[in-house]
């Protein structure tokens, strides 16, 4: 595994081109989290329902992620896991990715997700697909967002 690539000479030079997009993404994420924390997605009518759910009647792998984030913002991890466990698992990963983006923008060389062994990513794919199927199967209601 090549987790440690050789470091270029310009290791600590900030990349100004990346600072603004990273700041924009950070602001957008903070804004979305704040809106989700204050405007409760458990109340009907606060947000439009999912078009995919409306058309197909099926729960996709993302179903329940708004409610899960709302619960997380209120430190209610059990309820968040009940809405969408995969989204709960994804949040720390996304926060790490945001940290890595800042590190990169400030000129450091954080480990890239391309350094992750490929079977792990294929595993992620399988987990997402299996999750999307199983949460619609009777008997697996602990995975369903309802």
């Amino acid at each position: 595994m090549s987790l440690v690539q050789h470091l270029p000479a310009s290791r600590l030079r900030p990349r100004r081109r990346e600072v603004l997009p990273t700041a924009a993404v950070t602001a957008a994420a903070a804004g979305a989290a704040t809106v989700l924390a204050t405007v409760d997605p458990n109340q009907a009518g606060h947000y439009p329902g999912c078009p995919f759910l409306l058309v197909s009647g099926l729960y996709c792998p993302g179903c329940g992620s708004l409610r899960a984030v709302h619960d997380l913002m209120h430190a209610d991890i059990a309820d968040a896991l009940a809405r969408n466990p995969l989204a709960v698992v994804a949040v720390p990963f996304l926060l790490c990715a945001l940290g890595a983006a800042w590190a990169r923008a400030l000129g450091r060389r954080p480990p890239s997700t391309t350094s992750v062994p490929a079977p792990v990513l294929w595993g992620v794919l399988v987990v997402v697909l299996a999750f999307g199927v199983l949460r619609n199967v009777p008997g697996w209601s602990w995975l369903s967002p309802a």
Partner: protein, 130 residues
């Protein structure tokens, strides 16, 4: 590791790849250039192309289902091809992962926008008839 004049400082020794010891015997005249596609030299040195996994996860779990899954496939392809030494293929998959992440983000935004319009019009219509 001797006379590569303008090359960057020698990389750390690669992991052993099979019995022969990986880079122990460089190809004649080849030195440390990019390995041939599919060559058995393990992960190439240098900066790997981004696999855009973060956007794939974001669009799959927080935005729009089908295209996000396509992005995950290409993200995994980047890692597979890079680990196999296929530099050109890894960059190609990286571009595709990026494209599909953007497609899913844009489609997600457009669908949500259209849906909001439909909901708003529906709400107005039901209000006026009620």
């Amino acid at each position: 590791m001797s006379d590569q004049g303008s090359m960057p400082p020698p990389p750390p020794p690669p992991p052993p790849s099979g019995g022969g010891g990986g880079y122990g015997a460089p190809p004649p005249g080849g030195g440390y250039g990019p390995p041939p596609p599919g060559g058995g030299y393990g992960a190439p040195q240098g900066a790997p192309p981004p696999n855009h996994l973060v956007w794939a996860i974001l669009t799959t779990l927080f935005c729009c289902l089908p295209f996000g899954i396509v992005s995950i496939v290409f993200a995994a392809q980047v890692n597979s091809k890079w680990a196999a030494g296929d530099v050109a293929g890894a960059h190609e998959s990286s571009q595709k992962a990026r494209r599909w992440a953007m497609v899913s983000a844009i489609v997600g935004i457009v669908v949500i926008g259209l849906y909001l319009v439909v909901v708003l019009i529906g709400g107005l219509a039901s209000n006026s008839t009620a």
